[in-house]
Amino acid sequence: MSESADTILEVDKLITSFETEQGLLRAVDQVSFSVQRGKTLGIVGESGCGKSVTAMSIIRLLPQPAGKILGGHVHFKGTDLVRASDAEMRKIRGGDIGVIFQEPMTALNPLHRIGRQVSEVFRLHQKLSKKDAWDAATEMLKLVRIPAPEQRMMDFPHQLSGGMRQRIVIALALACRPSLVIADEPTTALDVTVQAQILDLMAKLQEEMGMSTILITHDLGVIAETCDEVVVMYAGRVVERASAIELFANPLHAYTKGLLSSIPTLDTPSKSILNTIPGTVASLGDYSHGCRFCQRMGRTAPVSRERPKFTEVSTGHWVETCPECYQP
């Protein structure tokens, strides 16, 4: 994984742990990937696989004091975010890295008008005057295609629908023209028709502003539609990484294959028995040895006691080569 001129973010062997009553849980276990300029990287996996913790580690918004980054690097434009000071991080968050959270109701302050919340970003990061910040915020609302932005500036979050609130959250994330946006399940709480509007909007804005995006979702359909590259996570580890076209056409890891074949598509014969992955996502406590997906499948072959190597099996296609789970 060499850093090319077009790499905007490089995550290298990132390890994040949580201190719990059951001991140290490794939620992110040596995760590496990179994001190219102007491209969208998708992180997909089931709940508890560590995809959100990976994102929150990048921008250092882990729950304190339980969450700690124990190792690895996150290179973003010449800075290692893991080692950056809190003051530097505050400048980067909402500045050069924008964040879109899943639940637009909890991401907005219910007590303040939309206008105040959006213009606050401009006042903090760009030190604009109150009036200039207000105008810039109105402009921003226009950019995310909110009808009658002047009136919406005076509204409180509860007066807006879910889709409109998510547009506000996108406006907040994009306010400072970031070069990277991290979107954590941006459309999960929304209806399909509104999801289509929001994904369409994000794609248009990405084109207009030339930013890169990390999109975290459990929805393979959303991944297929929006991402250039995909990282599949299972129990804190990346098990497969490839371009979206390659991953959907030629999945190589048993977990990726399982995920892809367990969703009904419009072409699946009605009421046919769907493929399933037995069991549930492994708990993070037992992280020390072997291939985690083998543990889920109830395989304890001695051959898989070592952590499988993450190998580039064809150009740009990386996979954990566990003898059982790597299925070319």
């Binding site: 089931e46 709940s47 009808p147 629908s161 879910g162 889709g163 409109m164 209806d191 399909v192 028709t193 509104v194 999801q195 289509a196 509007q197 994904l199 369409d200 459990h218 929805d219 393979l220 359909g221 959303v222 297929a224 539609e225 991402c227 979206a244 076209i245 959907f248 056409a249 399982g258 995920l259 892809l260 367990s262 969703i263 009904p264 598509t265 419009l266 699946t268 009605s270 009421k271 046919s272 028995i273 769907l274 493929n275 399933t276 992955i277 549930t280 996502v281």
Partner: protein, 342 residues
């Protein structure tokens, strides 16, 4: 064209309305109403799955809860096996509860955290005075086995299980009294995809084994197509289109169904589906537009014509019903409906 009549439906809902009063002012006077369900008619055949799709707030959950009579309808009829249950008292409904059961979206909220799995599953038998303790225990083990849980699960509590296992407990509870109809309200939306497929498979198997009918409410359109025989599309308290699952996904006639179905993300990155992007959101069911609700949303030029008009479902092809709404049908389809009228 004469409408295709469904012979002996298990459930037949006619012109059902559920309105919730909105009170305001110091006197808390009733000022308006949320028309959550506003004139819905549908039939479910024995052994059939009817899928119900629509955006949040369209009234699909309210409709489900009203059919099991957790909510009292404002007007209309709910015929179950030919008996109108819409206004029966809670006491007279009791025998009927054995026949109609419900599976909820979030099993962690619908299972009492202080009851063991055994008490949860034997409660229906106790309420309906069925069997002695030994028989009940035998039935509980049978139920657990049937939904794929070990017999040892009986003495554990809901919090000890994962989301998928909790949903299995919810299904076992619904199955306990051998119902004929189960209302499934978003039963897999809270689950991960690999677990979701386990639960869908279980529902299909149980249907074949016990000849169950399902009303399957969900917002995931691929899941609904997979499990349903017929699909009804709901918009703002009304059903706008009903047809065979294959037909409605291949050839939707109503403009809203078309937009909704085009919004399904495709799992093939090489195919970019042609989207019909809707402006705005579902309008509020408080004081809905007087005419075609969807025509109003898309500001259709023929909207004025629909105010006060009869927009009820008509048969456009055998078994394929669609709202008689000039704003939402192609001119040819609308003409077809008018011609069949005469």
């Amino acid at each position: 064209m004469l409408p295709t009549v469904i012979e002996n439906p298990l459930l037949s809902v006619k012109d059902l309305r559920v309105h919730f009063p909105v009170r305001s002012g110091v006197m808390m006077r009733e000022t308006s109403a949320v028309r959550a369900v506003d004139g819905v008619s549908l039939d479910i055949k024995p052994g059939e799955t009817l899928g119900l799709v629509g955006e949040s707030g369209c009234g699909k959950s309210t409709l489900g809860k009203t059919i099991v009579r957790l909510i009292r309808p404002t007007s209309g009829k709910i015929d179950f096996e030919g008996i109108n249950i819409s206004h029966l008292s809670q006491w007279s409904l009791r025998p009927l509860r054995r026949d109609i059961q419900m599976i909820f979206q979030d099993p962690s909220e619908s299972l009492d955290p202080r009851m063991s799995v055994r008490s949860i599953l034997e409660e229906p038998y106790i309420i309906h005075k069925l069997g002695n303790r030994a028989e009940r225990n035998a039935r509980v083990s049978e139920l657990l086995d049937r939904v794929g849980l070990p017999a040892s699960a009986a003495d554990r509590f809901p919090f000890e299980f994962s989301g998928g296992q909790r949903q299995r407990i919810g299904i076992a509870r619904a199955l306990a009294l051998r119902p004929k109809l189960i209302i499934c309200d978003e039963p897999v939306s809270a689950l991960d995809v690999s677990v979701q497929s386990q639960i869908l498979n279980l529902l299909v198997e149980l249907q074949q084994e016990f000849g169950l009918s399902y009303l399957f409410i969900a917002h995931d359109l691929s899941v609904v197509k997979h499990i349903s025989d017929r699909v009804a599309v709901m918009y703002l308290g009304k059903i706008v289109e009903v047809a065979n699952a294959e037909t409605i996904y291949r050839d939707p006639r109503h403009a809203y169904s078309k937009a909704l179905l085009s919004a399904i993300p495709s799992v093939d990155p090489t195919v970019r589906p042609k989207r019909i992007l809707l402006e705005g959101d579902v309008p509020s069911p408080i004081d809905p537009p007087a005419g075609s609700a969807f025509g109003h949303r898309i500001s259709h030029p023929l909207y004025a014509q629909t105010v006060g008009a009869d927009l009820s479902l008509r048969e456009i092809a055998p078994g394929h019903l669609v709202a008689n709404d000039p704003c939402c049908l192609s001119p040819e389809d609308y003409q077809l409906l008018q011609d069949s009228e005469d």
